[in-house]
Every structure is written in C-alpha cells, then in structure tokens.
Symmetry: C3
C-alpha cells in the first residue's frame, strides 16, 4: 500500500491529485493493473471529474453545498460537520482506475480529485494495485 499526503486549503475543495497518483504508479513500477484509490477520512472523498475548466469543480461544490448546507438546525452531531459526512458518503471514499503499460487510463477530460468537505486539513490518500488478467 502506498500513501499520499494532501493539504487542503478550504472548507470544501476539489483538489486535483492526478499527477501525485501518476507518480505513485510510476514509482511502483506496475504495468497492467487495477489502481484502487482510498480516502481514510469520513468528511472527505475521492471523485473523478473535468480537469479543464476550473468552473466545473466550482459549480459541483456550489450545487452540493446548496443541497446539503453546512448549517442546518436538524443536525444533532456535536462536531457540527454533519454536512461533510453526508457528502463523503454520496461521493464515496474509494474508486478504481485502470492502468495500462504503466499509465493511468483516464478519459480526455478526466482528473482525479480529493474531495475535501471539512477542511482545510492535512489528509491522506491510500493507493493499492491489483494485477490485471
């Protein structure tokens, strides 16, 4: 298992970690494989979305923040970050990317994003590889 460290900069943020994941793939020396990306936090997640226009990630966060507001009188959880926990479950904390000939196979416009929902914080990302058949 490999570990990345990520520093987020805002309460909610989609932080592009594609090049960091690519570097782990390169160092691991895997050829054809399945890459699993896992976020070991309950107020964050991992997602893939467009890496060209930064307005896309901004719009994603704006829509999700308006559906699941940070403050809501119904929340009982004492830490006050229930919205972040909801978003973590909706985005998910694990995903797979296929590796071919030592490279992550992503679509033309896809980047891998660490999804921060209760930052800024120092976060971890775990990465593992399984063989392809």
């Amino acid at each position: 298992m490999h570990q990345l460290s990520v520093q987020t900069n805002a309460r909610t943020e989609l932080l592009d970690i594609t090049s960091k994941v690519e570097e782990v793939v390169r160092r691991a020396g895997v050829d054809n494989a399945l890459c699993t990306i896992f976020v070991p936090h309950t107020t964050a997640g991992v997602t893939i979305n467009e890496n060209a226009d930064p307005d896309v990630t901004r719009d994603i966060l704006a829509v999700v923040d308006s559906l699941i507001p940070f403050h809501d009188s119904r929340y009982r959880h004492g830490e006050g970050n229930s919205a972040a926990h909801v978003k973590s479950s909706l985005f998910g904390c694990s995903l797979n990317v296929i590796i071919e000939k030592g490279s992550l196979r992503l679509g033309t416009w896809q980047g891998i994003y660490f999804a921060e929902f209760d930052g800024p914080r120092s976060r971890k990302v775990w990465i593992s590889f399984s063989p392809a058949v």
Copy 2:
C-alpha cells in the same frame, strides 16, 4: 466469493458490518489483498462513514430522507419505493477496502455500513478478494 447475511431493523438504516467483514477476511486467510464489498440489492447500498458518534449516521439518513422523500406524487414505480432506488444509486452498491497483513485498512473513524433504504429486510452482502501487487 463469500456471503454475509444481514438483518435490517428499520425502513432506512446504516448498519455497521465492519466486524462481520473483518471475520470474513480472517477466515479467508488473505494477507495483502483488495477486498470488494458488493450489495446485490437495488434498494440498498454500502458506504463507509464515522463509527464513533451514532448521531452521524442519524444525520446522514435525515438529510438524505429530506432530499429524497419516501412519498412523492411524481413517482410512477408501482411498488412505491422509488426513493430507495434513487438512494441506492447515489450511495452505490460496491466499494473497495485495502487489506494489509490480513487486516482491513480503515481510517481511525471509519466503519463499513450496510445502507438499508427499504427495510426492514433480510439482506445479503457479497465479498471477494483480489491479490495486491
């Protein structure tokens, strides 16, 4: 493939199955591997979230129930459980956890939850393992 049986107790419920999954890992005798957890139902899912304060899972279900109400005049599906189907797709029915030295690697506050959206019911969870490289 390994199978767990789960009995849910309410219409919507996040049921902690971490120790049951851990027991499957132990019995399977895997060392370093990828664990896939798959829910073979269309009105349930699987998610990872905080296992310390029970108000977290309560708040998650409350927010999701308010966004996707069980009753809505727009639903056409005759069984009347369309909300459960929507939640199933948003939470997802498969996820991965990394196994190292025979143990599930989870973050400090993470537990694995069976997400019931149309219970109470008797449910199944399927678990499989792939090698790590």
Copy 3:
C-alpha cells in the same frame, strides 16, 4: 482492457449495458475474477439498479433532475452542462462486479446501467479484470 461503445438517445438516460458487459466477460474467458467497469467521461457515470420495471430508472432520473436542474443561474461553467458534471460525481464513474465461474454475479433484480447526463452522445465504457483469490 476491453472497450464497449454505447450510443445514448436522450439528454439523461439510464441505458442497460448488462448483456454487453456479459459478452465481454464471455469473450475474455475469465473464470473467477473481479470485473471493473469504468466510464471515461465527465458528464456520465455507471450505476447498478433495477432492470424489471422501467419506471424505476425513469423515477431515478426524475428525482435527480429535480434536485440538480439542468438550468440554474448559479452555474458558471461556459458549456452549460454543469448539472451533468455534478451527477457524474454523485453516481460515480467506476464500479466492481464479482465474476464466478465465468458469469457476472448480480442480484436478482440488478442490471448495469450506463448513466448518461448530457446526451445523446457516442460514449465508451472500459472494462478490466483482476484475478480472485
């Protein structure tokens, strides 16, 4: 890695690709394995849900479209398809299905759906296999 071509027919659509995925599994000749399904697009996703009553997928799309409307004055992304990007992240672009004895193991009512959120378009689906242990 294997590739499927998919032609979607509407702006939002859940298109059943189960039989296409099954054909890839058959041709690949895998026995016991993990199947990873990956969508290389940022305005689409992949999900599993009920394949019996077509009103289920209709209701899912209706609920999601009402929560995340296609037009919204808050969107800044110039292409005007921010809603599709949000839905892509919420549904996710990768999932796993377990293969036993050469067959996809799905629940009784489960089908695999390509989730189109900005169609109609010609789309791709990538499929890879990892061994089971």
